[in-house]
Each structure stands twice: as structure tokens, then as C-alpha cells.
Amino acid sequence: MFGIDTESIVNFEQDYYAMEDYQSNIPRWCPGCGDNAILTSVQKLCRDEQLPPEKTVFVSGIGCSSRFPHYMKTYGFHGLHGRALPIAEGVKMHRPDLHVFVNMGDGDCCSIGTAHWIHAIRYNMNIVAMMHDNGIYGLTKKQASPTSPRGLKSNTTPQGAFLDALNPTLTTLSVTNVSFVAQVVEWIPEVLHNVIKAAYHHHGFAFIRIMQRCPHFTPTIFNELLQKPDNIMMLTHPNGLQLSEGVGKLYKNQQEHDPSDMVKAREYATLSDKFAVGILYQNENVPCYEDIRRPKRIFTPEMRQEALEKEFDKFSVQPAS
């Protein structure tokens, strides 16, 4: 800013945050749970970007994945089922200077929280939203979720799920003001990290669907992808995801995809035999709600009082002098 900027602030010591500075409790997720990989990736992002813990907020709903804020040594808000997004929007609206992340599960986001999800996309606030999609309600011990594959036997669908799974990526892509949509699997840490990083740097609502294994209830639903790397189609682009040599060797099925191409993005979101991984769509030009709505000036309580009293004065009866 003009006149006064960061140069004016005396910085005697460069605070440096290590990974440990973002780790709080030992996660109580099951051994082998994919949420661990997401947690590690996010902690790595915080360290790489040196996010001040006091300026970072993780908001979640209810579910296994929603224990996320407990394991981050930052501010956190473990909210109500399906209500992570409205809380996060409130935080961002009032404190635009904070880095806001949202972690929710597939049940949280695509079932009880659907309305909030749709409108959060439309509001396009500068938030990173990670949907941990394991295709099951894990915390409540195996009930079918909207993203459970058809035929998955669960406590609520002992005969197997009746319906085809909801496609959250396609849904997100079709909402007004969508600005960032990515799809990724948690077991390729490098790609996961790069996509979360891109989402963090995106100015607007960044939605990432993360395919996450549940070792207990849905250990096999991703077998096709885990065992046959060619079933994963890596969407690469100079403006999108770029692979390291090692990952490139392992995942040979690569396709160049320009994230500004919405039509192609929808095509990749609906592949039936393959699973697209990468940034499907990105548009930096969509306005953010907080930028549009943020008041141009801050009003102190005194100013508010003054204005109110001015209004009240119009109705007061003056004693005759």
C-alpha cells in the first residue's frame, strides 16, 4: 500500500513454522485411513506457505473427515452436520484477512449440506473446500452416502445401494460462478499436495474432491484405480497440474487439459471407465462475494452511535425555549 506497507513493520526475527508447528494431537483415524494423507498434505502446504497459525482457520462439519480441525494447531471450528460452509463464509466475511479451509465428508457435503454447498459455489468466497469422498458414512459405522457406488452393501442398503452415485464434480461445475474445481486421489501425495496448493493460490472458492480410502468400510471401492495406474487419467497443463518425472513414469495415462475449458472439464468429470485427476476448471475472473460486499469503510461504534442519534433526533420533540 502507498505510504505505509510491510516495510514499515519492524521484523526483528523471521518466524519460521515447521511441520510440527501445525500438528496438534495424534490423529485418531483408523490406521491406513486416507485422511492422514490429506492432513499431511495440508500441513505441508501450511509450512511451505508459512501461514501464521493464528491467521489460519479450519472449519468442518460432522464425520470422520471433520475431525480435521482437531489435528491442526491453528484455529478451528468443528461445526454442525452439513454446516461447515456457512460457518466458513461467516468467518471469511468478517475476517477477510484469515486463510479459511473447509474439510467435509461426502455425506456432510452432498447430503445434508447440499444447499449450502451449491450456494457456497455461487458466493465464490476465497476459501479452500476439501471434500473427503470415501463413499460411505464411516463415523456412524457404514451407511450408504450419496457417493456410494451402486451395489455397495451397507447397513442401510444390505441388498446393495440402489442408485448410481452422485457426481459431485459435475454438480459443482454446473453451478453459477464456479471458479475452481479439482479432482484428486489421496494416495498420490505429490499430486494431492500440488492440487491443494493451486487451490490455496486461487482467488475464489476452490472445490477439491479428494477420493479417500476407508480401510474399514470401503477398502475395495478404489481397487480399480489403485491396482491399475492407467485407469487414472492425469490432466496436465502449464496452467494446471504438472507432474514430476517419478509420478509421470508411474501414471502414464496423461492428457493435456486447459483448465479454462469448461466443456472439456465437464467431459472429464463424467468419464466412465477412467478417473480424471487434476485441475478440471479454473477461472480467476469470477468476483468474490466478500470483495463485492465488504464495506468500503469501517465504522467505529462511536460513528454508528452518532449516525443513529442523528436519525433519532429527527423524531425527538424539542422543548419550547
Partner: protein, 880 residues
């Protein structure tokens, strides 16, 4: 270049083209336009417009009739008389008459601009604050735009256009009285006045009034008109400064507003409710009905009044925050750092000062304010971010002084504006001014030059004995005793500042207000001191055109060449220095076409406008010139610009002259004194120095170029001679060989009877021996080796050693939970084998089996005596 030679042969055809002079002075390009339109309207229209076309065309320039040729004696007499005047300034007896004074003459190139009512120029100037900042444009271009939009090409449209021009002319004369006024108001008054002078029917008057009103509505609402008067340079500067400061202050105010808001947030976080709030009644009112059923208001009030929250802020911190807030608020008030519309004050803080001492004092005061302000701001920022550490920051802020401020902070408050008049500069100011310009203080100096040259006597009475003057020849009642000198300060101060190399320097004249405003804007934004030297003539009276013409002529005549130097553009002169605003800056003097009549024939000549031409129109110097009629022109006369090109020795045989014209358009040759020529020469030399700085006709470059050209030429000449020698030698050799071959062929033909085809087989050209391929090309042979080595190496690894594909680890804790001593996380929280000996091969295999992403490779067992090894090796196989 034609020189209007009197010996030109008489006669020629009778051309009738009007002599016009429309291309003079780039700064005055638009001047040639005149207000009245051309003829060709209907009688009614002409009658309507009669008041609009009152202006008469200026008389044509013409040479007097060719006089009879001079005899040798006459010529030598005239030459002697003029030489006497040239050398001494004494008017010979023959030229004592009033006719030979130049008071009623104008330099020929300025002749066309004598009638102020007919000329459109940069003034009145319209200054407005637009979306893109402060901008200025001449009223004439505003009127032209209006005419373009509202006036059709038909007669009616053209009549309206003439009315608009009349309004413009009217505004001009209105402003000659008031100097400044708002555009809308001036326009309205002028339009009414013009309308009342028109000879119109009632209906037509109504119609034209309506159309004028429509046009008036499209005029910009805000904005001021300025006539060309001496306060304009300062007014423009103040406007530019205010505009820059407004933008800056709004941003700064917003930041401060937020900062104070946050500081108050810190102080307010522990605000205590007032005592009345703790009373029982208040509690009862505060609790709603259902709550009252379950809560006892008395007890509630008791609890509330007893529970005094402990103060969260330690006292020193609270004091610090308060103090910072206090200082910021104080400065906000002092410098008007409030958002627009909230009644900004503080303009008085920035009224220009008149002496250097005052400027310094104000600068020191402002610097102290800045130091206090930014100290408070920095403390506040630290406090707001909760980063203030007393052990470290206390000593830092205890020693806080102006050296801690960075450049941008130093310029956060409005710069000091110093307004100096060249005529009234005293010695103390002179010394301090250099000090200011050499420093890095943001002091912006407007140095208004009101007189370029003055008599040496006025500068210093002791300079009475000018070296070139012969006192004995001085005639008492002429004014030639005053020797001429460029006013040392006006002419040299900006150039001296240029050499200091750390201040923004601009030199220009009021005749180019757009350049002036631009220079102000850049100079005000410049971090250090800035000097704006602006020429605004003092002696031209109230006539704003005369002042304007004088200023423009000074620019043209190089007496005050326009230049600017902006040190932050780069370290080289090419980047920081420019003489771009001086007209025709690649020439020594600007040259313009002059049309004149001789024997009813229109002639065109190129005329240079020299410093002598400029000086000739200065009233105070009229005694330095002598007008000579055509009958007395000796053949030795030479135009000044050509005279200056002569070598010292040749000048003695010549007398320089300039051309001037009387009101009737009659051309006179005017002989200046030696002093004027010396001054002209000085001006030319000074201009050449500036040109060289500006990269034009640089003498060093020219010398290097000449030397380089000579070197290249010799080199090339040598090459050519070498080549031709070689060629000759080769020719001789080839001819010799051919002769030999022909002779041998003839001989062979003769020897082998009848077989004409038998030719001596040319010896096979020995093919150049193929370059011996190096036995082992260094580029190729070693390459395969590492590849092989790699393979070998890879084979050598042979998966016997256990390892983990760490980058693929998903941190699921499975292996860690198996054996914490054997497995661990690296700094990225991804698994590595920490100590292979800390566990058994069985654990290694189990971990590999558990790993959901199958990245643990157990390899071969280390200890052959582990039980069940065979089975384990089998299980491990699929992971290796």
C-alpha cells in the same frame, strides 16, 4: 536560405496570393487561426454576422520599392555609419530621427500575431479535475470539440460555429479583467453578451439561444479558466499538488482509519460496563420474561457487579497503544488525513513559502512530524499484530529518529512548496537554494523567471565598464550605456541544478502549460527536491497575448530552452535528460517560412528566429537596435544567423541585421549592437551545450564518428588495394597457366593425328585425405559407459536392501504403529526406514503387507537365524 536581398532583379508576374504567416512557432501552431469565417453567405446571414467579422486582416508584409543602386561612396558611408552603431551603440547623425527607432516595429515572424482579438492560443486555459487526475486544455480545443459535435457542415452550422468562436473571444476579453473564473459562469456571461450584439429577429434569437443552451449543458460542470497572468504557474502547481495529495491522503486516511479502529478494538476489549448497568433494575430489564422466571435478578446483579474482569492489557502496553493512537489522531487532524467528504482541512499547512529559510523550517517541522507519526504507526502495526516484544522493540523505538524512515515514508506528507521570483532573490536565498537542491528534502521549488535579460548595471552597479564598450563614444541621451548581460541567475540556475544531478529540474515557459502541468505532476511525485523554472514575462503589461507571445518567443529563441531532468529514470543522461519540449530542437535556431510581397509577387523565404529577434521586441532594449531603410542597405549586411557562422576574421567585414516589420507591413532591416550579438552568441553556445547533453549534435560523438570514419576509410582503402593487387597477381598467374595449357593442347592435337578429342587427361584432383576420425571420439565413446554402469549399479542394488518409496507415502501411520523404532517420518511427515536393525524381518514384511499404497520393499533378511524365514521371504517377494 533566402535573405531578402536588395539586389534581387526587379519585376516578376503579378501574383495576388495573400501573404500569410501561419507556420510560425510550434508552440503557437494554432495561433494562425482567426476568429472570423470566410465569405460566401447569404445577405441575411452576413448581416447577422456583421458583428462577428469586425476584425480586419493584418496588412501584408512587403519590401519597399527597389531604390536606385548605391554609388560606391554612398555604400561605404552607410557601412561606416552602421558599423559605428554596431560597435558602439551610438546613433549616427543620419539616423537620429524617430523613424529609425524600432519601437513601432515587430520582429518579422511575430508580425502576424499583433492583433490579440484575432488570435487563438493556449489561454484561457481550462483546468479540471477528471477521473484520471488533474488535466488542462486550452479553451480553444474545448471550443473546437464543441463545434465538431454541434455544428454541421452547412451554412447554419458554420454560423453557429462562428458564434461559438465569438463566445470564446468574449471569454478571453472577460478574463483579461478577472484573470480567472469558472467555465460555466464565464460561458454564460459571454454567450449572453454575444447574443445581445447579434442583429437577429426575435424568433431566430430564441432559436440560437436554445442551441447555445444545449451546448452549454454539455460543458464540464467543474473546472476553472485561467488567463495568462503571472499567478498561473503557482496556481497550476498548487492545483497539481492538491490533486496528488487528495489521492494520496485518501489512501493514507483509509489506512489510518483502519489502524485506529483496530487499536481501539484492543483498548476496548476490556471495556467495563458502566456501574448503572450493574444495578438490579437494569438486570431485570435486561433479562427477558422467561428468564426472569428461572433467574433471580438480584443475585444476577450481584454476580455481575462483583465479577470485575481482570484487565487483560498490561499497563505499559495500554499506555503505548494510547500514545500511538494519540499521535496518529493528532497528525490526522493536522494534515487533514480524513476521507473525502468528511471535511478535510489542513490545506493551510501547505500554503507556499516565500523564502528558503521558511522552507527549511517547514521541512524540519514536517520531518519531525513524520518521524513521530511513523514511529506511532509502526508501534501500532506491531501492537495490532500482537508482535510487539518489549525487550527488542523498546530500545529500537527509544532511539527512533528520521534516519529510520524509508523513502516512501519520507514523502508521505505533502512536500514543502517554495515560490521564488527571480527578480527578488536575495543572497541568503541563493545560497540556501543550492543547499536545498543538493539535498534529498522533498522541497518543490517554483522559480518564476520574470525577466531573462537585464542591463548589467541593474545586476551589479560596479559593472559599468563593460570590456567591449568604449566609454568615450557614449552619447549621453541614448540609453546605450547599459551593457547587456543574461541575468546570471535566471539563465543559469536551472542548469546549475542540473549539474547537482539529484533533483528534478524543469525549465519551460508559460507558453506551454500542458508541459508545465505534466512537469509539476512528475516533479511532485519525485522523491527528492524539484525545481520548476518557469518563464513568465513581467513587463508585458496586462495584455495576456503579449505575455504569452513573449514567453513562447523566449522558448523559440533558445533564451530559455525547455528541458527536464528526472534523475529517477536512470543513471545515464539519455534516460534522465531531455530537451524534447524545445521547438525544432535539432537546429541551432528554429526556422520558419516567411511570405512577403515584393513588386506584387509573393515570395517565400526561410527565416531563423534568433535570440537577437527576441531581444528586439523587448522594450527596454530598443536603444540597442537601429532600423535601416532599404535605400541605405550596404552590400555587407548579413542576417544574424549567418553572421554568427562566420569566423572571427571575416566578421569584421560584415554587419548583421534582423528583419522587422512596421504596422503597415513594411519590412526594415534592423542592425543590433555588438552587445546584442555577443549575447546572441552566448545563447547559441549555451543552447549547443544543452543540445549535446540531450544527445543532439554531440561534439564528442561527432569527433569519435569522424575519427572512426577516417579509420574505416583507410582500412577499406587498404583492403581494396590489397584485393586489387591480389587480383592482378592471380590474373597474371591464370593467364600464364592458360597460355601453357593452350599451347600443350595444340601440341597434343598436332601430335595425335585426327583424334581431336584426345585430351591430356587432367590429373585427378587429389581428394583431401579424410580427416582422421579420432580413435575414440570424446563426445561419443564415454557416453555408453555410464549407461552400462547404471545398469550394473541397478543390478547391484538387486532389491536385497529394504527401502520405502517415501514420496508416495500417505502418512497413514500403519508402519509406524508396527514398530516406532524401525519406521519414522521425515520432515514432510512421510515414512522412512529409521533403523533396520531396530526390528525383525517379520515386522518389516508385516508393515509391507499393511501398507495401503504398497511402498515398503522388505528386501532380503539381514539376520539368517530369524525363525520362519523361508515363509517370510516368500511373503516378501511380491513387495520386492
Amino acid at each position: 536560405m533566402k535573405t531578402l536581398d536588395q539586389n534581387k532583379p526587379n519585376g516578376g508576374d503579378n501574383g495576388s496570393a495573400a501573404a500569410e504567416n501561419d507556420a510560425f512557432l510550434n508552440t503557437l501552431t494554432a495561433i494562425g487561426e482567426e476568429f472570423e469565417g470566410k465569405g460566401g453567405e447569404t445577405a441575411t446571414a452576413a448581416a447577422e454576422d456583421s458583428t462577428l467579422t469586425a476584425h480586419k486582416e493584418s496588412p501584408l508584409l512587403h519590401l519597399p520599392e527597389v531604390p536606385p543602386a548605391l554609388t560606391a561612396t554612398e555604400a561605404s558611408n552607410h557601412f561606416a555609419n552602421l558599423l559605428l552603431f554596431f560597435l558602439s551603440g551610438i546613433r549616427p547623425k543620419a539616423y537620429q530621427k524617430q523613424d529609425y527607432r524600432i519601437d513601432r516595429l515587430t520582429p518579422v515572424l511575430l508580425h502576424a500575431y499583433r492583433d490579440a482579438t484575432a488570435v487563438r492560443y493556449h489561454f484561457p486555459l481550462f483546468l479540471s479535475q477528471g477521473a484520471e487526475g488533474l488535466a488542462c486544455q486550452p479553451l480553444k480545443s474545448l471550443v473546437d470539440k464543441l463545434a465538431e459535435t454541434h455544428c454541421a457542415a452547412d451554412d447554419e452550422g458554420q454560423r453557429l460555429k462562428r458564434i461559438l468562436l465569438a463566445v470564446e473571444s468574449r471569454i478571453k476579453s472577460q478574463l483579461d479583467q478577472s484573470n480567472t473564473g469558472s467555465l460555466k459562469q464565464q460561458w454564460q456571461t459571454a454567450a449572453d453578451a454575444v447574443l445581445s450584439t447579434l442583429n437577429l429577429t426575435a424568433e431566430r434569437r430564441k432559436d440560437i439561444a436554445a442551441r447555445l443552451n444545449t451546448i452549454a449543458e454539455t460543458l464540464p460542470d467543474a473546472g476553472e479558466l485561467y488567463a495568462c497572468h503571472p499567478r498561473v504557474p503557482l496556481l497550476l502547481l498548487q492545483n497539481a499538488q492538491q490533486s496528488a495529495w487528495d489521492t494520496h491522503a485518501t489512501r493514507l486516511a483509509k489506512e489510518m482509519h483502519e489502524l485506529i479502529f483496530r487499536l481501539e478494538g484492543l483498548l476496548g476489549s476490556e471495556a467495563q460496563p458502566d456501574d448503572p448497568g450493574r444495578t438490579e433494575n437494569h438486570s431485570e430489564a435486561a433479562l427477558s420474561d422467561p428468564a426472569l422466571g428461572e433467574l433471580d435478578a438480584d443475585i444476577f446483579a450481584e454476580i455481575v457487579s462483583e465479577s470485575q474482569p481482570v484487565s487483560l492489557l498490561p499497563e505499559p502496553r495500554r499506555e503505548r497503544i494510547r500514545a500511538a493512537r494519540e499521535v496518529i489522531a493528532q497528525m490526522q487532524k493536522k494534515y487533514g488525513l480524513v476521507e473525502p467528504g468528511s471535511g478535510r482541512t489542513g490545506a493551510a499547512e501547505n500554503a507556499p513559502v516565500r523564502t528558503c529559510r521558511e522552507a527549511l523550517n517547514r521541512y524540519y517541522e514536517r520531518r519531525a512530524d513524520l518521524t513521530a507519526f511513523f514511529k506511532a504507526v509502526r508501534i501500532a502495526r506491531l501492537e495490532v499484530d500482537n508482535r510487539y516484544r518489549e525487550d527488542k522493540h523498546d530500545p529500537y523505538f527509544a532511539g527512533f529518529n528520521e534516519h529510520y524512515l524509508n523513502h516512501r515514508e519520507m514523502t508521505a506528507f505533502p512536500p514543502v512548496i517554495l515560490h521564488l521570483q527571480s527578480g527578488s532573490l536575495n543572497d541568503a536565498d541563493k545560497a540556501l537554494l543550492i543547499e536545498i537542491l543538493a539535498s534529498d528534502m522533498p522541497v518543490k521549488v517554483l522559480f518564476q523567471i520574470d525577466q531573462i535579460c537585464e542591463s548589467a548595471a541593474a545586476v551589479d552597479p560596479s559593472v559599468n565598464s563593460h570590456p567591449g564598450r568604449q566609454d568615450s563614444l557614449t552619447e549621453p541621451h541614448t540609453n546605450s550605456s547599459t551593457a547587456l548581460a543574461l541575468n546570471a541567475w535566471t539563465a543559469r540556475l536551472p542548469q546549475m541544478a542540473l549539474n547537482l544531478q539529484n533533483s528534478y529540474v524543469f525549465q519551460g515557459a508559460i507558453a506551454d502549460p500542458e508541459a508545465l502541468l505534466e512537469a509539476y505532476q512528475v516533479g511532485l511525485a519525485f522523491e527528492g527536491p524539484a525545481l520548476f523554472a518557469v518563464y513568465h514575462p513581467r513587463h508585458a503589461g496586462d495584455d495576456s497575448l503579449a505575455q504569452y507571445i513573449n514567453a513562447a518567443a523566449a522558448l523559440e529563441a533558445r533564451l530559455l530552452p525547455g528541458f527536464r531532468c528526472q534523475p529517477d529514470l536512470g543513471s545515464g543522461l539519455a534516460e534522465r535528460f531531455s530537451i524534447g519540449r524545445t521547438p525544432q530542437n535539432d537546429r541551432r535556431w528554429p526556422e520558419n517560412e516567411l511570405h512577403y510581397q515584393e513588386d506584387s509577387t509573393t515570395e517565400t523565404a526561410m527565416m531563423a528566429f534568433t535570440a537577437a529577434d527576441f531581444l528586439a521586441q523587448e522594450e527596454s532594449l530598443s536603444s540597442q537596435f537601429l532600423a535601416v531603410p532599404r535605400t541605405d542597405w550596404p552590400p555587407q549586411m548579413l542576417p544574424v544567423s549567418e553572421y554568427l557562422d562566420l569566423s572571427e576574421g571575416k566578421r569584421n567585414e560584415k554587419i548583421p541585421f534582423i528583419l522587422m516589420a512596421g504596422e503597415d507591413g513594411l519590412l526594415w532591416r534592423v542592425v543590433p549592437t555588438q552587445d546584442v550579438i555577443r549575447l546572441t552568441y552566448q545563447v547559441a553556445a549555451n543552447w549547443q551545450a544543452l543540445q549535446e547533453l540531450g544527445g543532439i549534435n554531440n561534439s564528442h560523438v561527432a569527433a569519435v564518428l569522424a575519427a572512426e570514419k577516417e579509420r574505416l576509410e583507410t582500412e577499406k582503402a587498404r583492403e581494396i588495394s590489397d584485393l586489387s593487387e591480389q587480383h592482378h597477381a592471380e590474373m597474371a598467374q591464370t593467364v600464364g597457366q592458360l597460355t601453357e595449357e593452350i599451347v600443350s593442347r595444340i601440341a597434343a592435337g598436332l601430335l595425335s593425328e585426327g583424334s581431336a578429342t584426345a585430351m591430356p587427361a587432367a590429373p585427378p584432383v587429389p581428394r583431401p585425405a579424410p580427416k582422421k576420425a579420432p580413435a575414440a571420439s570424446p563426445a561419443e565413446s564415454p557416453a555408453p559407459a555410464p549407461a552400462e554402469a547404471e545398469v550394473e549399479e541397478e543390478e547391484a542394488l538387486s532389491f536385497d536392501e529394504p527401502y520405502i518409496d517415501t514420496p508416495l507415502c500417505t502418512s497413514c501411520n500403519d508402519c509406524i504403529n508396527t514398530n516406532k523404532a524401525m519406521f519414522a517420518y521425515n520432515e514432510n511427515k512421510q515414512a522412512i526406514i529409521k533403523d533396520i536393525n531396530a526390528g525383525t524381518f517379520r515386522q518389516l514384511v508385516e508393515a509391507a503387507e499393511k501398507c495401503p499404497v504398497r511402498i515398503i520393499h522388505p528386501g532380503k533378511p539381514k539376520h539368517p537365524d530369524e525363525p520362519g524365514l523361508e515363509e517370510l521371504i516368500k511373503r516378501a517377494e511380491k513387495f520386492n
